[in-house]
Amino acid sequence: MIEKKDIEKLARLSRIEVSEEEKNILLKDMESILDYVSQIKEASSGIPPKEAGELRNVMREDKNPHEKGMYTKEIMNEVPDKENGYVKVKQIL
């Protein structure tokens, strides 16, 4: 069954800071939800494997580009941290 250290790992993987108190609540909630959805394990093992269906690529011609910069101003307006038209982030290396 799921443990507190699993919650911590999931929070880390999904980049979400979770308080100590909430870890316990999440543990309880996830236990009851996982217990319920585990019902699908009872479904017979003879069921067909996952089918991909009629997958097809949806492509478009590489033509008719929009005018350069026509969306830039509105999109850059939303960026919380920017400098000289660039999105500013912390050094990662």
Partner: protein, 474 residues
């Protein structure tokens, strides 16, 4: 003339506008006044737009030049997860604090060119996760039929806006019942269209294989008018279906037979009065000449479990984009990792955090096969069950919800109890078929009359059958 909002429909309003009985400006003013009077209590709208008068004036000119459509001048409410260019859009989340949409969703583009007037953006469960509109970062919406109860969710603001006569029609989105359930709780008509019938471009994605935008109306015809205005193929959404494929399905003849799935109706937790109401509706359909057939959907009882695996899996992936770097809330920590974790920890509400963790769990190595892959296999089997059933019947009918609207706070600390309320609505999303909820009368609770809904499901792209059966009894 005095505008009778209670009995107004899109067609009636359109005829009055054409005749000049009132103008689009007067019509929008009456709605704005009503919103002013009721929204403080109901909390249906997160924002009423400041340019409604300008929009209405422009549509009035179009009407006077006889260039309009049936939607020209019609005041509409829009769920807060659908983008309108240069308007705020937040999905009722703190993580989109201050965000202004940079483009129009395709449905908005279509409604703008049809001449609709957008009154404002409506409250919802954060990122459409919930069935009560209590998971909004901006406080719950109340049900206009009984303010101690929820309006349903996640499109609860759109439903309440319409039910309080704060709009003539509304847009919502439906991933597992988020249009149909609030429509049922608020006494309205709500449609979840066929997957791929309406473009999702500009709809904030929750679970991409399940999400669809759809209409709320006071009548079946109103929902139909709005659906016809927003549907159609869109090159900007690769899952939207080409029009000729959508049309091909409409050539099958109608058998006038309605299927009743005993398997789902036997689910635990269904209110006795809801079942009684459902049987009365079925009798009504019989009276209209439809024959009723009991059908079997042997895997349908897995639908809820399958849904609560696939939906959080897709949501956890989709919501990875909210990182505080390109838009919305941005919190700083020591390292780039801390920036993400702080932004997402503070920006996302409790239910959203819960579903992201759940989705991350079912997608992680070691559990992927047992949960996610198995859920997909079962999803296909449920689809086959419905396919077989539709060989014998035109429509499958169920109640929309297992109970009438519940009390605010009643299920707040029990997510599983909240999830179980979706038992009748999730199958249509898993299979991608269209489903319509129509009002089916009321039940008395604590001296209040609470609306109930009847759900009708049809094969892919057969919204036309839903509308014709729906109009025959409502």
């Amino acid at each position: 003339m005095k505008i009778d909002l209670e009995n107004l429909t899109i067609r009636k309003a359109h005829e009055h506008l054409l005749k000049g009985d009132f103008s689009a400006v007067e019509l929008s003013e009456v709605y704005l006044k009503n919103i002013e009077a009721h929204n403080k209590n109901i909390n249906a709208y997160l924002e009423v737009f400041d340019d409604v008068a300008t929009q209405a004036k422009e549509t009035q000119k179009i009407i006077e030049n006889k260039k309009g459509t049936i939607l020209t001048g019609i005041p509409i409410a829009v769920k807060d997860n659908i983008l309108i260019q240069r308007k705020r859009a937040s999905s009722a989340s703190k993580i989109l604090e201050g965000y202004t949409a940079t483009y129009d969703a395709t449905v908005i583009k279509k409604l703008k060119s049809a001449g609709a007037v957008f009154l404002g953006r409506t409250n919802m469960d954060e990122f459409a996760m919930g069935g009560s509109t209590e998971n909004s970062a901006f406080g719950p919406t109340k049900n206009p039929h009984d303010v101690s109860r929820v309006p349903g969710g996640s499109s609860g603001g759109s439903a309440a806006a319409l039910a309080m006569d704060g709009a003539l029609a509304a847009l919502g989105s439906d991933t597992g019942g988020s249009i149909r359930q609030p429509a049922a709780f608020c006494g309205l008509v709500g449609l979840k269209p066929t997957y791929g019938a309406v473009s999702r471009y500009g709809l904030m994605a929750m679970a991409s294989s399940l999400d669809q935008i759809g209409p709320f109306g006071k009548t079946v015809e109103d929902a139909e008018i709005l659906f016809n205005a927003i549907k159609g193929h869109d090159p900007m959404d690769s899952t939207s279906v080409p029009d000729e494929i959508a049309k091909r399905n409409n050539e099958v003849s109608i058998k006038m037979t309605i299927g009743v799935p005993k398997d789902i109706l036997d689910s635990p937790g269904i209110d006795a009065l809801v079942l009684k109401n459902f049987n009365e509706e079925i009798a009504k359909l019989k009276g209209k000449g439809y024959s009723i057939k009991e059908i079997s959907l042997p895997h349908a009882h897995f639908a809820l479990s399958v849904y609560y695996i696939i939906m959080p899996a897709e949501a956890s992936t989709n919501l990875a984009r909210f990182d505080g770097v390109r838009y919305g809330l941005s919190k700083k920590g020591g390292t780039p990792f801390d920036d993400y974790a702080k932004t997402r920890g503070e920006g996302f509400g409790r239910e959203v955090r819960r579903r992201i963790l759940l989705g991350t769990y079912v997608l992680s190595s070691g559990y992927y096969d047992a949960y996610y892959n198995k859920a997909w296999s079962l999803r296909n089997l449920i689809g086959k069950d419905f396919e077989h059933a539709f060989n014998e019947v035109d429509i499958i009918a169920t109640p929309t919800t297992p109970t009438p609207a519940f009390k605010i706070g009643e299920k707040n600390n029990d997510p599983l109890a909240m999830y179980l309320a979706d038992v009748f609505t999730v199958p249509a999303n898993l299979i991608g078929i269209p489903a319509l909820s129509i009002p089916s009368g009321t039940v008395d609770r604590d001296g209040k009359k609470l609306p109930l809904g009847l759900q009708l499901m049809a094969p892919h792209f057969r919204e036309d059958i839903l509308f014709s059966v729906g109009k025959s009894i409502f």
